[in-house]
């Protein structure tokens, strides 16, 4: 029978559909795994963004991976609270993101009103490491990314935005 530890190992291998270089566990989407006495597995996941279109895909991938690993029954539950934060992405996953060409997120800002056009700490270019980069748009190819451009190596790049 599948153990909780083994289930986490299996989920560690399930890639995020939009950023396949890291797993759904790396991303902090998987919040809890429980296994009932009859072997039924319940996985609790939380969306990165309210409208994240990848949630259905993630739910399907999680279910299929656990069934393939021998789970008799899998239920995937979605919770909104506590709200997902990029602070849950660990150092190893951040390095994987950077190596993949996506600047990892900074620390999530404290709540409260936000200053317009605030002085943002420069986001280092994931390609050449230069900090001479400019924010092009706070909304990128997916809800979770911003677009920057590096003025040193002239490459555009995505940043996983802190949230």
């Amino acid at each position: 029978m599948l153990t909780v530890a083994r289930a986490w190992e299996v989920l560690q291998q399930v890639p995020d559909p939009e950023v396949p270089v890291i797993s759904v566990v790396d991303l902090g989407i998987v919040r809890d795994v429980t296994i009932a006495a009859d072997g039924a597995v319940e996985v609790t996941i939380t969306p990165t963004y309210s409208g994240c279109p990848a949630m259905f895909e993630i739910e399907k991938d999680v279910r299929e991976a656990l069934l393939a690993a021998g789970a008799a029954q899998v239920a995937v539950r979605t919770v909104l609270s506590p709200a997902w934060t990029t602070d849950w992405i660990g150092p190893e996953a951040r390095e994987k993101l950077r190596a993949y060409g996506i600047a990892p997120p900074g620390r999530a800002e404290p709540s409260g009103l936000i200053a317009l056009a605030r002085a943002r700490p420069p986001v280092p270019c994931p390609w050449c490491g230069s900090t001479a980069t400019e924010l092009r748009s706070e909304f990128g190819s997916t809800a979770c990314k911003a677009i920057h451009v590096c003025t040193s190596c002239r490459q555009p790049f995505d940043e996983f935005k802190a949230i």
Partner: protein, 280 residues
């Protein structure tokens, strides 16, 4: 309370007299339970504004802005789905978020009028986005501690997303206002035209009083004061003039909408209604 019931009474009377025929098995009771009404208002604001933003997809002035508007639409429609799901659960008649989004008529929608107005030019869209997002941010902060697990969960999620919307739209208001004479004239006109629709966002009626009794308390006067501060700061930086608070347009909260909502719904609901029960 009295004005609220009177408005509802007029709507019900018109329907009974056959002047406003409303068909469909899933017609909402004219006044639902306060919690249902409250969640519908929150959900419908986001659904309708999200749909308006989605109309920009493929039409943005520049590629980055096309993507930004679509991303904000996605956030809002995601929040709406969660809120309408909660409304359906609170109603207890088996309606889910899709049933509520696609099978209600215009008079059953509870969104504020400002969200349903046509997009206008990019300046109008961005000014509206700023005015509404600033309100949303403050509202979600107030609802973070709501003693309703589902609502507090949406608030915690939405507050993070809306912070980006406020900053993005606010920066654009400054850029356009403090821009060329043409851009400044256009966004000033947008501010002037939209202003009369902002009052409705701060209205509190019997529904708000009833949910406050459940512990969902929002201090509308305090919220308005903070909104004024935020909006004033941005308008000043944008070299725009804040209009005087004149008569305000309202009615969306009780289902009295502008003519624009019906046209919006005829597009938004067309696929579901052409192919009922279809999945993909």
């Amino acid at each position: 309370m009295a004005a609220h019931e009177e408005e509802l009474g007029i709507a019900a009377g018109e329907a009974a007299a056959g002047r406003r025929p409303v068909a469909g098995p899933s017609r909402t009771p004219v006044l639902g339970a306060p919690l249902v009404e409250y969640l519908l208002r929150l959900g419908d604001d986001r659904l309708i504004l999200g749909h308006r933003l989605s109309e920009w997809c493929g039409h943005g002035p520049i590629l980055e802005e096309d993507i930004a508007l679509s991303n904000m639409a996605l956030d809002l429609i995601g929040q709406a789905a969660a809120l309408l799901r909660l409304a359906g659960e609170a109603e207890g008649q088996g309606r889910d978020e899709d049933a509520l989004a696609y099978w209600r008529e215009a008079v059953q929608f509870r969104n504020a009028l400002i969200t349903e107005l046509p997009n206008g030019d990019f300046g109008v869209t961005i000014v509206r986005q700023f005015l509404v997002s600033a309100h949303s941010l403050l509202l979600w902060e107030a609802l973070l501690g709501a003693p309703h697990e589902g609502l507090a969960g949406v608030a915690a999620k939405a507050v993070k997303e809306v912070r980006y919307h406020v900053r993005h739209s606010g920066e654009w208001v400054v850029r356009l206002g403090d821009g060329t004479p043409e851009s400044q004239a256009r966004v000033q006109r947008a501010v002037d035209d939209l202003w009369r629709y902002t009052g409705e966002l701060f209205d509190a009626d019997a529904v708000d009083a009833a949910v406050a009794a459940l512990g969902i308390v929002v201090d509308h006067a305090a919220l308005k004061a903070r909104w004024d501060g935020l909006v004033d700061e941005v308008l000043a930086r944008a070299t725009l003039v804040r209009p005087a608070d004149g008569p305000m347009r309202r009615g969306g909260r009780v289902g009295r909408h502008t003519e624009h909502l019906g046209h919006l719904l005829s597009v938004m609901q067309s696929v579901t209604r052409a192919h009922p029960g279809a999945t993909w």
